[in-house]
Symmetry: C2
Subunit: 310 residues, 2 copies
C-alpha cells in the first residue's frame, strides 16, 4: 500500500517509520521548512527505543505533492486540519482512504468537507512520540490504535480492515473497532483532564494528578463529558472514567502533556477548542451545561493571549 | 476613643496612621517580628501620598497585650482571624466593639465565637495600602468604608455610629450603612473575579480585564454570586455587577491583586476559600450550583501546592 502521512510531526514520524520498516511505501507531507530540509538532506533520524537509526523518505510541502496514494493518515494539529486537506487534494483518488487519528472531538465535520464519507476512517491512538529537533524523532514506549470506517458499507469496511492489517503488521497494535466513537470520546476526556489543567498550572502529569484537589476537578470534567457523550450515543461510567484517568496519568507522571508543550514550552496556541471547548460546544447544542470545561477553556485562551502564543 | 488594630499589615497601618493623626489613641497588634522590631525602634515610616512621615505606636504580639480598648479593628488575613481573636481576649471589655473589615464572606461566623454579637460591627472598605518592608507603609489613593452593627439594638447602633464618626474624622470617608451585607457581598464578587484568576494566570488587572475572553468568565462568576447572594437576602443585577467589575478594575490596570501578591510574589497561601470558595460553600448549603467558582478555587489550591505556598 502507498501511504501519505499528512503532518509529519512526532506522531506522523512514528507511523511513517514503522510503516516503512514493515515494507510499505510512505511519503511525508509537512509545512516546517527546517524539518523538511533536514529529512531531505539527512533522512529521518530516529531514537528507536534508545537505538539511533535513519530512514529515508520523500517529503513534500502540501502544495508540492501530486502523486495519488492509497491511504492518507492525517496527523496535523487540529487547527491545521482543514488547511492540510484543502492543500493536498491531488493525492486523493476516488478510493483513497483518509484516516483521522487527531486528538479531540468533531474532526469528522471538517473531514467531510474534503473527503467522501465512504473514504473516511476515524480512529484513536494511545501511541506517543516526540521530536527533539528538525528531522529527529524520539520513539519510545508502546501503544495501540483502533479504527472504524465512518459509514458502514462493505467496501468501506473492507478497506478499513486492510489498513488495520497493514498498521498492525507495522507493529502499531492496530485493531478494528465497532465503536471507535467511544474510544475517541474517552481519549478526549483523558486529554481534557490532563492537558488543559497542566498547561494552566505549568506542571507535569504527576504534579497535577498527585494533587489532593485534583480528583474532584477530574471527576467534574468526566461528569460533563459523560452527560454530553450520552447525547452522541456514547456511554461512560464517570466514576470508572475518573479513576482510569488518574491511574493512567500517574503511570507517566513525568510526562508534559501536549498543551503544556505547545503553550508553556513553545508559546503556541493549544488545541483546547477541540477538547474542553468541543464538549462545551456539543453540550450547548444539546442543552447540557458544561461550566467546568467552559471555564477551563476560557482560562487557557486567556493564558495563550497573555503569553503571546501564536 | 482607644483603638487596637489587630493585624498591622498594610491596611492596619493605614487605619492606625489616620486615626492617630486625628487625635485618637491607637495600639498595634501583629505577629511579624521584623515589622514589630522596626516600629519599636524607628516608629512607623509612612509614604503618605508621596510625602515621607513617621508616627510612633505601641506595638505588641497578640499574647503581650493586656490593656482593654474601646474598639478593635481586625485586619488579619482571613485564615488568621480565629487565632488573633483567641489570643487577644484581654483587650475585650464588656463594651469593646470589634470591627471586621476583612475581605471575603462568612467572617461573622468566626467572630461570633469570640465576640458578643452586641459588640460585633461588620464592614466593607475599598481603601488600599501596601507595605514595602518591615515598618514601612505606602498609603496612596483614596477610598471609603461602610459599617453596620451585627445585631440592631439602640446601644449597638449608637456605638457603631460613634465609630463611624471617629473613622470619618480621621479622613477615612466612613459612613453608616443599613445594608452593609450587600457591600460585603459585592466586594467579595469583585475580589472573586479579579483575585483568583490573576493569581492563576500571573497577570495584573489590566492583563486580565483587557482580555477578550474575560467578560464571559466574569459574567459567569457574577451570576453564581447573584444566585447565592439572593439566598442571603442580598439582591444583585449580574449584568450591572459584571460591567462595574470590569470598568472598576480597568481603572487600576497595573495593580496586582492581593492573591497574586500572596501566591506569586510571596509564595503564601491565598484567601480563596473565603472568596470563591465561600460562595461555593454557601451555595452548596442552599442547593445552588457554583461550578465556576468551585473550579477556580480548586485550581488556586492546586497552584498553592505546586508553588509550595505556606
Amino acid at each position: 500500500m502507498k501511504f501519505a502521512i499528512a503532518g509529519a510531526g512526532a506522531m506522523g514520524c512514528r507511523f511513517a517509520y514503522q510503516l516503512k520498516q514493515s515494507g510499505q511505501e510512505v511519503i511525508l507531507i509537512d509545512r516546517w521548512p527546517a524539518h523538511i530540509e533536514a529529512i531531505r538532506q539527512n533522512g529521518l533520524h530516529v531514537d528507536w527505543n534508545g537505538q539511533e537509526v535513519v530512514e529515508q523518505f520523500p517529503i513534500y510541502y502540501p502544495e508540492e505533492v501530486t502523486e495519488q496514494v492509497d491511504v492518507v493518515i492525517v496527523f496535523t494539529k487540529a487547527m491545521q486540519l482543514a488547511d492540510m486537506l484543502s492543500a493536498i487534494q491531488p493525492v486523493f483518488g476516488p478510493d483513497t482512504a483518509v484516516v483521522c487519528l487527531l486528538n479531540g472531538l468533531g474532526h469528522e465535520l471538517v473531514m467531510k468537507q474534503y473527503v467522501a464519507e465512504e473514504n473516511l476512517v476515524m480512529g484513536s491512538t494511545i501511541w506517543s512520540a516526540a521530536l527533539d529537533g528538525p528531522g529527529r524523532a524520539v520513539l519510545h514506549g508502546v501503544g495501540s490504535l483502533s479504527l472504524q470506517n465512518f459509514v458502514d458499507t462493505p467496501n468501506a469496511r473492507a478497506k478499513t480492515q486492510a489498513i488495520v492489517a497493514a498498521l498492525d503488521a507495522a507493529g502499531l497494535h492496530a485493531s478494528y473497532s465497532e465503536n471507535v466513537k467511544a474510544a475517541i470520546w474517552r481519549k478526549a476526556c483523558v486529554n481534557a483532564c490532563g492537558n488543559a489543567p497542566t498547561a494552566l498550572l505549568e506542571c507535569d502529569l504527576g504534579g497535577f494528578f498527585d494533587n489532593p484537589y485534583t480528583e474532584e476537578l477530574v471527576s467534574a470534567i468526566a461528569q460533563e463529558f459523560t452527560a454530553v457523550a450520552a447525547t452522541q450515543g456514547v456511554e461512560f461510567d464517570p466514576a470508572e472514567l475518573t479513576q482510569f484517568i488518574i491511574s493512567a496519568s500517574l503511570k507517566i507522571r513525568e510526562h508534559h502533556a501536549s498543551m503544556y508543550q505547545d503553550l508553556i514550552i513553545n508559546r503556541r496556541l493549544t488545541e483546547v477548542d477541540y477538547i474542553n471547548g468541543a464538549v462545551t460546544r456539543i453540550g450547548e447544542a444539546a442543552g447540557i451545561p458544561t461550566p467546568v470545561n467552559r471555564t477551563i477553556t476560557q482560562l487557557v485562551h486567556m493564558k495563550e493571549l497573555l503569553l503571546g502564543a501564536q
